[in-house]
Amino acid sequence: VSAGEAVITLDELAFRVVESADPNAWMVLVTDQQSVASSLHAEIERLRSPEEAPPVVETISSAGTLFQAVHAHPRGTLIVVGAVAFSVDDWRSLDANRTRLMRADMTVLILDDISAGRLENLAPNLASWVGGQVWRLVDDAAAPALSPSEIDQRLAALRAWAGRGDAEVIQLAETGQLPRDPEYAEWLTLLGRGDLLVS
């Protein structure tokens, strides 16, 4: 396990989870925000089809409670939070008894840097199940805006389409003479004159 190399956004991670078809697939998500479990759960819920089992979040405190969680949920996506508090003995116990952790579907372990390192060093066999599926969560803009160059391209396309310039479009809108096609609504908004759409 090599934590910190690959980065992923929450929605991309959820997509990987719902698309995974491998039995006993394991994934590690490295983050300091253990609360991300509920966000990941919600995103998987949005993406899954009705035929797919809903994901389950289990908060565990020791190797024993992880064994219990796996036993209770042999199928479907299992998101495990709490393993950051595992002791050295917990990790060694998990590694030695890893066959009891085998599941039919995806298991996501949410760890921080320290516990991801412990997984690698103290539970190498379990870590081999994870393989390269170690991701560091990154924040991304929830709703990215058009870049300045993308705005320029759209405005250029609108000018070519209408055979009009920005100033003319604003002047026509101010005097109530602008056609009401939706393209002009986008145009005025990108020019900073969305207010003219409702005046």
Partner: protein, 197 residues
């Protein structure tokens, strides 16, 4: 047509005006923020990818789906866009740069939004289009909602459908954004394909 249609405007114009009013009041509630609507649109596009309705990779959705504020009226007016503007409809169906259906149709859309207050938004205008560069089975289908005021909304055509011709407008229901997106994603197909699916 009723007797009151016989006024200063033509009976057809009056009838279409009444139709438009009926269509406008039939829409249901929207998400409460532009970001909420963005999320709903994003999820619908990702689900279409999962269901192999779109060819795109999941990672392309956020590259093509943008929510942009009016630069002068920051949180009041927004534009939500999906894919680049394509007036010429000649683009190669490249999933890296366009939303591309598995049947080769290219989808692009835009809508102008107003954040009325902290708990409601209004769709001021929209355009949702699927087009086929090969012009088969049709050149394009587009659902438009013009912004309000004087103009063809008075003729009952504020919300309209272009069936493959920019000069042809047919009255259309005012659609919620997700309904319009569903139609250009999953609908607008030859009946023989719909029957097979």
């Amino acid at each position: 047509l009723s007797p009151e249609d016989a006024g200063s405007e033509s009976p057809l114009t009056a009838a279409l005006r009444r139709l438009q009013h009926r269509l406008l009041v039939a829409t249901s509630a929207l998400p409460v923020t532009p970001q909420g609507l963005y999320e709903q649109v994003r999820v619908l596009l990702v689900r279409a990818i999962r269901e192999e309705v779109l060819q795109n990779g999941m990672y392309e959705v956020k590259k093509l789906l943008r929510l942009t504020p009016d630069p002068e009226h920051g949180r009041s007016y927004w534009v939500l866009t999906g894919g680049p503007i394509d007036f010429r409809r000649t683009a190669e169906p490249d999933p890296a740069t366009r939303f591309v259906r598995t049947d080769g149709g290219i989808i692009h859309f835009h809508m102008a939004l107003r954040e009325c207050d902290a708990r409601s938004i209004e769709v001021l205008a929209y355009g949702f289009e699927v087009y086929f560069p090969s012009r088969d089975p049709i050149a394009f289908v587009r659902f438009d909602l013009n912004f309000g005021g004087h103009g063809n909304d008075e003729a009952g055509l504020r919300s309209h459908l272009h069936p493959g011709n920019d000069d042809l407008q047919l009255p259309s229901p005012v659609l919620e954004p997700l309904e319009a997106l569903l139609l250009v994603l999953y609908g607008c197909r030859p009946q023989r394909e719909v029957a097979r699916s």
